[in-house]
């Protein structure tokens, strides 16, 4: 109890338990409480709304501790001196918060505990019918113990004590505070000591304000809006250099970088790119270029309200000629936001990591990506599944397999249609999926050709009737002839099946109920075919 004699610092608590004062209910315009309802404030604002209050308070003092949604605290000493006294500071805060549409109560006292209670008591003007935009309760320095003395012990945030103390005949904080500190420590232990300190108007602990977080994102606005991709990519390189410098100054690296592009018509395209602290400024700029190109590919038809008079200037992006003019208004802002900040430990390569991409291969792959788009160069990653097509997921070169682009997702490069095909039904690229048992999977040897989209086929029996499989897995007749994708009929020399499978029946879009066959045709080719909904599909070819 070395600090027993020290008074805690002055603390100002802003409590915002009410809904926005304006628009609460139609009859209450102007802050008038509805007649008969004694309570003006009922439920507290949600966390997002309270964020606005916090940002208003941050305008008075940047170091704000949020106690819980609905209450925040600042150290009152400095701001009070600047704004000309604690009363003036409280009035200014109430005015500013009311400007944002919220009503609040302000309590000022020695220590957080007393200030919070003061704020709570400031909201009880039950005798007045007027709903004030705010109320203040100021406890003068050194008078905190006297302020707390008449309050019941139930205000202590300790269920054990608030239950026990009244049964011992101690009903107010004043009675509790008058007990000797040593006896309280003997009888009630550490929680008792803390409560005793609070009851005497001392601090439980000093404030722990959060420092304002540094903004490491970088952005540039374009005025007038830019209609060409090149200037944006050029600006991206400078921005990326600035972002890297900012990160390096903080000793941080980002796992991913978010690229945000805003068009003049308010449209905004945001995409996350893998970074891992490895990308150069040029590589980041290259990703911005891909993002612009992919947005264009996915948005080829201009919107109806597009300005028809605009001159379409061709821009070379990669090999093709494209324009950014498909977006009315051009590009107005580019922003790079580092995502998932981690301490920059440098990077340690595996000693014999065979999968480590050599610079030479990476250069070649990036050059092809510059020609065709980010998703055009892929690496296979094992994924779990029963059919051959599901056993591999294709991941764009430069990405790691924990972020597999969702098929058809927003911001997906337009060219990944064929690339993502094999992994389309594979789900997330979870490396564990491949190791799990997949009962009923097609056994080895595996087919050399796995068609990303199954080819249509016709399979008929001796009499030329299409072979069917019943719901119980019975074949109508042995398959005798097969025609693959419109090719001439070939005799079937060997076959086996059916191997029925019902997958994901609970999911309407990816549900799959088919019966698979292996066939050998007279030309020696071996096929994996399946019948689904009465139609035949070629899934793979073995030779």
């Amino acid at each position: 109890m070395t600090a027993a004699g020290d008074l805690p610092e002055r603390v100002l608590v802003v409590r915002c338990p009410g809904r926005p004062a304006v628009g609460r209910e139609p009859g209450a315009a102007g802050g008038e409480a509805a007649p008969g309802s004694g309570e003006v404030w009922d439920t507290g604002p949600g966390a997002p709304e309270f964020g606005q209050v916090v940002s208003v308070v941050e305008g008075f003092c940047p170091r704000v501790e949020v106690l819980h949604p609905g209450a925040c605290a600042i150290g009152a000493r400095g701001p009070a001196r600047y704004f000309g006294g604690e009363g003036a500071l409280a009035a200014k805060i109430i005015e500013a918060v009311a400007g944002g549409g919220f009503a609040c109560q302000v309590g000022i006292a020695d220590g957080l505990f007393a200030a919070f209670l003061a704020a709570e008591h400031a909201q009880r003007p039950r005798d007045t019918r007027r709903a004030q935009p705010g109320a203040v309760m100021r406890v003068p320095p050194g008078r905190t113990r006297a302020f707390l003395a008449p309050l019941p012990v139930s205000v202590l945030d300790s269920p054990d004590l608030t239950d026990l103390l009244p049964r011992l005949g101690i009903r107010t904080l004043g009675e509790f505070a008058s007990l000797p500190a040593a006896e309280v420590a003997n009888r009630f232990g550490t929680p008792g000591v803390v409560a005793h300190r609070l009851a005497r108007g001392l601090g439980r602990r000093p404030l722990a304000p959060r420092p304002p977080s540094a903004d490491l994102s970088v952005g540039q606005e374009f005025d007038p809006p830019v209609r060409l991709a090149e200037p944006v990519v050029f600006a991206a390189k400078a921005l990326a250099e600035r972002m890297h410098n900012g990160l390096a100054a903080s000793g941080l690296a980002c796992v991913r970088v978010q690229v945000q592009v805003v068009w003049g018509n308010g449209q905004e395209i945001t995409r996350l790119w893998r970074h891992d602290g490895l990308l150069s400024a040029l590589a980041v700029a290259e990703r911005v270029r891909w993002q612009l190109a992919s947005c264009q590919a996915s948005q080829a038809p201009p919107t109806a309200d597009g300005n028809q008079t605009a001159v379409r200037i061709p821009v070379p992006i990669g090999t093709g000629e494209r324009t950014t003019d498909d977006y009315p208004g051009g590009i107005t802002m580019l922003r790079l936001i580092p995502d998932q900040l981690v301490r920059d430990h440098g990077r340690q390569l595996g000693l014999w990591g065979d999968a480590v991409v050599s610079d030479r291969v990476a250069r070649a792959a990036v050059r092809v990506q510059a020609m065709l788009g980010h998703g055009a160069v892929t690496r296979p990653v094992p994924a779990g599944g029963r059919s051959p097509a599901e056993q591999v997921t294709l991941v764009p070169f430069g990405d790691t397999n924990d972020r597999v682009p969702s098929p058809g997702g927003a911001g997906n490069p337009g060219r990944t249609g064929g690339a993502a095909g094999q992994g389309r039904t594979g789900g997330p690229g979870d490396p564990d999926r491949a190791a799990r048992p997949w009962p009923g999977r097609i056994p080895a040897p595996f087919p050399a050709s796995v068609y990303p989209a199954p080819l249509p086929a016709k399979i008929a029996d001796e009499s030329g009737v299409t072979v069917a499989v019943s719901g119980r897995g019975l074949v109508s007749a042995p398959p005798a002839r097969m025609s693959a994708d419109g090719a001439p009929w070939l005799a079937v020399t060997a076959w086996t099946g059916p191997w029925p499978v019902t997958e994901r029946w609970w999911h309407p879009r990816t549900a799959c109920r088919r019966a698979r066959f292996q066939l050998v045709t007279e030309d020696g080719a071996a096929w994996l075919v399946a019948v689904q909904d009465g139609g035949w599909l070629i899934e793979a070819r073995y030779d």
Partner: protein
Amino acid sequence: MASLTSLLPRRHDEDVVPDGARLPVLPALRGLLPGGLQCGTVVAVGHWGLLCLAVAAGASAAGAWCAAVGLPQLGVAAAAGAGLDPGRLLLIPDPGPGWPQVVASLIDGCELVLLRPPGRPSAQVRTRLAATLRRRGGVLVVAGGWDGAQARLLVVRQEWAGIGTGHGRLRARRVQVAADGRGAAARLRTRWLWLPGPDGSVGAVDQITASGQDMRDTG
């Protein structure tokens, strides 16, 4: 320091790869491609199939990077079974009309490029790619015809084992592969292979057992 570096042999992009540098092939294919794949040349395999993957597998298993262009249907599981390392595999399923440029860029980075050209390549394209190959020392394995290929391989006969009429399953395939080429490799050679074997790998078939089988000619 400057005088020292000037004495060192300088490497130009135009440097031609020393004649005789070769990429290894699987042991089962050594009879067909004696000495392996000669760097800077084209190997043409008649049709796209497991044989293309088998030709590339030896080099990949020995540490080479491999790129597959124009093959959206490449079965990665079968490639891994044949011995190709999927960790050193780049897939460019849809190279588009500018595929010769894509292939040239990949030859710069990868030792081996698997290609299925979208159409019959013109003589000009072939000459340009051949020059790039000679300069960088890569090997281009083409699924389809390619005039001027150093070696050509073709599946002549094949028979599947393990599958009956309504029972069994595909377990292995015995194939007869014919190879010819230019220069020292001009003589026609044929070998019987398990392609794939029961475990998906590629192996040589014992000559005596193979000749005793009734194999159908598949042309």
